[in-house]
């Protein structure tokens, strides 16, 4: 079955969610929103789905463009203000959050704050939303809809969201007990972090994408294993579900 890269990325994000996980989706997160609904509908019926609409386990007839929009409250079981989702996070009970980035470096540090000087920036970016808080103690998955060497840079000019900082055991030495980016999911490939050096490593390339495509669009030396498999495409059932809850192509927002 033919599919778009947005649908593949949604399916990949959904696979990061295990049954029973408590997962948070943020603002301007169209693909994570659909991935959470997909996971809950298929392999993770017992996941708890939190989001920027403050709605617990919504089951909307169709997804909204604003990922905090009223539609995302449909058929939810309760409202829980983000303040209390964060309380859960601090208690160690939130499993995962999906975070975006304007820049990502080889250690998974992300920048959503400034390009250039902080007080007189060349480009003032929107700010990292939950990043500086949650990346400091939680597992995260980073998604990047446009994999290129402007996004994937050797060193971010500002660390908004903490990855593995300078790699190796930097997090531990700084007193950051756990968490960190687990995966990076892009329009070209899936990446993770080599356990010892904490350098970004290629996991799989999407169908039709070569390892060279990834290397040429990454601004640092990515670890390339000897064998690089092709990413498993979304199933027919997954695609049908995604299309049924997203008749307005909210999933394409980040590709326009």
């Amino acid at each position: 079955m033919e599919y778009k890269v947005s649908e593949l990325m949604i399916s990949l994000m959904a696979r990061e969610i295990k049954d029973g996980d408590k997962v948070l989706q943020g603002l301007y997160s169209p693909m994570p929103m659909i991935a959470c609904l997909l996971a809950k509908h298929f392999h993770a019926p017992n996941m708890v789905f939190f989001n920027t609409a403050d709605a617990v386990d919504p089951d909307p007839s169709e997804v909204p463009f604003s990922t905090a929009g009223p539609k995302l409250q449909e058929n939810c079981v309760a409202y829980l203000p983000l303040a209390e989702v964060f309380d859960l996070a601090q208690r160690g009970e939130l499993s995962l959050i999906f975070l975006g980035a304007a820049q990502v470096d080889m250690y998974g540090n992300t920048n959503l704050s400034v390009i250039g000087d902080f007080s007189r920036p060349k480009v003032r970016l929107p700010g990292g939303a939950a990043s500086a808080f949650l990346c400091g103690f939680m597992d995260t998955v980073i998604w990047v809809p446009r994999h290129n060497s402007k996004v994937f840079v050797e060193k971010v000019s500002f660390i908004t969201g903490q990855g593995y900082i300078n790699g190796w055991d930097t997090r531990e030495r700084l007193g950051i007990p756990k968490g960190g980016p687990r995966k990076v999911i892009t329009n070209l490939c899936v990446m993770d972090f080599e356990p010892k050096t904490k350098k970004m490593r290629l996991v799989s390339v999407h169908p039709g994408v070569t390892v060279d495509d990834v290397v040429n669009n990454t601004g640092f030396d990515l670890i390339i294993p000897d064998e690089v498999p092709t990413t498993e495409p979304p199933t027919k059932e997954e695609l049908e579900f995604i299309r049924s809850i997203d008749p307005n192509n909210v999933r394409e927002l980040e590709f326009k």
Binding site: D54, T67, Q90, R120, K122, V123, L134, Q162, I176
Partner: protein, 269 residues
């Protein structure tokens, strides 16, 4: 109980002063107090310090209209419509003071304000440059566990402005749907302005006390403002108007264009 129902103009005149720290309710393009934002611009308030979590049009308009000297925020963006043009311009030209937070610190700062404590311990932030540049978040070792945490300063807003669904004339506020930080904001601020879609009889509040999210004694002014969140959404009442936001983005690309927007949509009222 004192009747607090009044016109928007009077509420902003009486309860928003130049230099105030102003917390605005809502998230993204959802249930933001836009009528109040437009009135603040019309009254030409100055040197406001805006406080909010994930904000968009409301912050961007106030900044562009020259009402703002400082922002405390976790994110200011127009979601899929891109970077907030006025925020970006003013920040890049060094014309507003930046107090960058993350959601977890801004929310807990508001909670600390509501609790009457000067600061609150929060996890995370270690290793982030947000912490390095912050004057309101400081590293801290817990004296009991030895854990490395941060302390977030209570921002103590002077005034909170919230758009809600219903209230009676005394200021008992019913809030349906996503609450965000609005209830904490009302409890954190010294003055609270609530604009509402509908004014309901006091008896209705008494019949359904479980629906009262903010009781009257927190509230300074109640304003009847149907469609008062427009062009942002208000739950079951109306959705956001994306065509309007697209027009905003087009016009606000330049300061002159933004003035045109103000003329068309703010000064005409």
């Amino acid at each position: 109980m004192e009747k607090k129902l009044m016109p928007l103009k009077e509420a902003i005149e009486r309860f928003v002063s130049d230099g105030d720290k102003v917390a605005l309710g809502g998230v993204g393009r959802n249930r933001c107090p836009m009528d109040a934002v437009r009135e603040i611009i019309r009254q030409g308030k100055k040197n406001l310090h805006l406080i909010g979590r994930e904000k968009g049009l409301d912050f961007d308009m106030l900044i562009g209209a020259g009402c703002v000297s400082k922002v405390s925020f976790a994110l200011i963006s127009l979601e899929e419509f891109g970077l907030a043009p006025n925020f970006r311009r003013y920040a890049q030209e060094g014309k507003i003071e930046i107090d960058e937070h993350a959601c977890g610190s801004i929310i807990n700062s508001i909670r600390a304000s509501a609790m009457g404590i000067p600061c609150i311990p929060v996890k995370g932030f270690i290793g982030s440059d947000v912490l390095r540049h912050s004057k309101t978040i400081k590293e801290f070792i817990c004296p009991f566990t030895g854990e490395k945490l941060v302390l977030v300063k209570a921002l103590n807003p002077d005034v909170a402005i919230i758009h809600a669904h219903k209230a009676d004339e005394y200021g008992n506020v019913q809030l349906f749907g996503s609450p965000w930080e609005d209830i904490y904001m009302a409890k954190a601020a010294k003055k609270v302005i609530v604009t509402v879609e509908e004014i309901v009889p006091h008896e209705e509040v008494k019949k359904n006390p479980h629906l009262t999210a903010i009781p009257y004694f927190y509230v300074s002014a109640v304003v009847h403002a149907p469609r008062g969140a427009y062009p942002t959404s208000c739950d079951s009442y109306y959705n956001y108007d994306d065509e309007h936001i697209k027009e905003y983005v087009q016009l606000a690309k330049t300061p002159e264009g933004f003035q045109e927007y103000l003329k068309k949509y703010v000064y005409k009222e």
